[in-house]
Amino acid sequence: MDTWWRALTFTLGYNTSLVTLGAMLLAAGAGMIGTFVLLRKRALVSDAISHATLPGLTLAFIIIGLLQGDGRWLPGLLIGAALSAALGLWLVQVISARTRLGEDAAIGAVLSSFFAFGVVLITVIQSMNVTGQSGLTGYLVGATAGMLSSEAKLIALCSLGVLAAVFVMRREFLLVCFDADFARTQGINTWRVDLALLMLLMAVVVIGLKVTGLILIVALTIIPPVAARFWTDHPMAMVALAAFLGALSGYFGVTLSSVGEGLPTGPLIVLAAFVLFLGSFLFSPRRGVLASLLAHQRFRRRVHLRQGLLSLSRDEPIFDGLTLTLLKRAGYIRRDGVATAAGQAAARDAEHEERLWALYRERYPDDALHREHAGLTPIAQVLSPDAVMTLETQLLLRTEARP
């Protein structure tokens, strides 16, 4: 507990602090670029990229190992990983563009083949006389325990680069994600923007290999954006929030892993992200589970109240217990069930609303199928003022025509 506290307050030593900071920046970058990838509906591409890094990573390890005896040299390994990820990405594009296969099928084929090849290469390495072999498994599940400060600095710097690039490109990304055709009419080259999006995603995946490992890096590009979606309806706010939630997961994950010997960093970061996701999923006031349960309850009461008021206005008897309770609580009826003045006014309003909605359904049957048009929401909140005015006029004309 004490170790964790010292890690959380950045007092566990220079190296741990540097690693924590690097992981936070990386996770923030992953959250930012992941948001746009998610909105572009290509979340699975990051899975293909991460698995496609393995053969390049292992080949680079072999080459570096043969040259200098020890295969662990982070920049070289990252370049190798990036090259094979780019090749995998290119194959996915070619397969989905030139054949009848969809992108998902192409992703499945490419990621499994590349990963299989990488695993074969790992067994080759194990039979070789190269030191640092045990360091290679760290790239599968992530290991920050023995990370050098130079490595942590490299990760932090590259992540900062990604953050800056996403910031510069955010407007192009947004337009292409929402409406690519419209983006083209704004002079945006959507092909280049998509390429930049994938390149930045690849950069994040490759940089993150050492921190979370290649199997789990995909989680950092998906979970924080999905969690952020629960809290906001603004695109840029979602990007910022995803970056924040990502950084938070990185912070908790790395500090937790410094508590015990051999605690894996990658899984802990992902679990921290998942906890944040779960919290958002349950407690978000906009789209969370609890909020929608409450909203359902409110809706149920609204239906009861509306039905009760309509019954009042039509002088029909009310038998439903909940309806009576709600009417009483709102002060619309007295204890003996007789409508109060307020109740009569509310009943008249409800009846008027009901007529407007009925007229609307009659006039525009197609549009009335829309969810909000069931007639329970006040009509002025659903239709634009001019449309409501038109309906009011029509209703007035109709009532006058029928004496």
Binding site: F178, D179, D181, Q186, G187, H234, E372
Partner: protein, 265 residues
């Protein structure tokens, strides 16, 4: 040196002049050698049966879809350098309305060219967006998530995004598809206002019965251009028959083209 061909005056003054435009998917032409000079200050309908290439013609003109051949000019200059003068209202169904954006976010996307990469939406941008929304009667919905809007309201938001661009030419792809009647008349009011300001409108239109009421020019299209010109001259039974390949009955045709029936309706 190759002599540059002289550009005719009609093309120089037209906000969208299309020449010899062909688009094909897998060697099957969907738009074949279409010529059309949009009259400036006009409201032109593009009319034709399903699969006639109406949307494709627009998308190819706008550079969204690749064209096989053809020349597209805006006021006599190539479209690519003049694209800022053209606004586009895509079909409503072309985007995901569950996207995390509010009405005003979407309208502000029309300001893309006016902002630099370091800028966020400023007070001025918000005012411009609210002004556009007010023109389509949607200012009360500025902070709604776009998925909560009805079809007609979504169409109005798209129109507001085009209005904010203050373009000489606005191209609309079936703006009246699946919208309520109140929205249809609100949209046509805005379009007529734009025309009265001297702007040009080009609009894929499905409902033959309103062509006379809404538009002053028409382009009849069925892969090839069948006829183009003022509605009164071109929107004839013979031309419609040629466009729809005999799919319209005599009764329908008579009702569509004779202005007398308009009053009866």
């Amino acid at each position: 040196m190759k002599p540059t061909p002289r550009i005719p005056d009609a093309v120089k003054s037209s906000p969208l002049a299309i020449q010899g435009l062909t688009v094909s998917y897998d060697r099957r032409p969907v738009v074949h050698s279409v010529d059309f000079v949009t009259p400036p200050g006009s409201m032109t309908a593009i009319v034709g049966p399903n699969g006639a290439g109406k949307s494709t013609l627009l998308k190819a003109s706008l550079g969204i879809t690749a064209r096989l051949t053809g020349d597209v000019r805006v006021f006599g200059k190539p479209f690519e350098v003049m694209s800022r003068h053209v606004a586009y209202v895509p079909q409503r169904s072309s985007v995901d309305w569950d996207f995390p954006a509010t009405v005003i976010d979407v309208v502000a996307m029309g300001l893309f060219r006016d902002q630099r990469w370091w800028q966020f939406n400023r007070g001025r941008d918000r005012r411009l967006a609210m002004h556009s929304l007010a023109r389509v009667g949607m200012e009360a919905f500025a902070d709604r998530q776009i998925g909560q809007l009805s079809g007609g309201q979504q169409q109005r938001v798209f129109l507001a995004r085009a209005l904010i661009q203050d373009a000489e030419l606005t191209i609309l792809d079936e703006p009246f598809a699946g919208v309520d009647a109140a929205t249809e008349s609100a949209i046509i009011e805005v379009l007529k206002e734009l025309r009265d300001e001297g702007r040009t409108l080009l609009c894929v239109h499905h409902d033959l019965s309103t062509v006379h009421d809404y538009f002053d020019h028409v382009l009849l299209l069925n892969v090839r251009g069948i006829a183009a010109g003022a509605v009164d001259e071109v929107f004839t039974a013979a031309n419609l028959q040629a466009t729809y390949g005999g799919r319209l009955s005599e009764v329908q045709l008579a009702r569509l083209v004779s202005p007398a029936s308009k009053e009866a309706r």
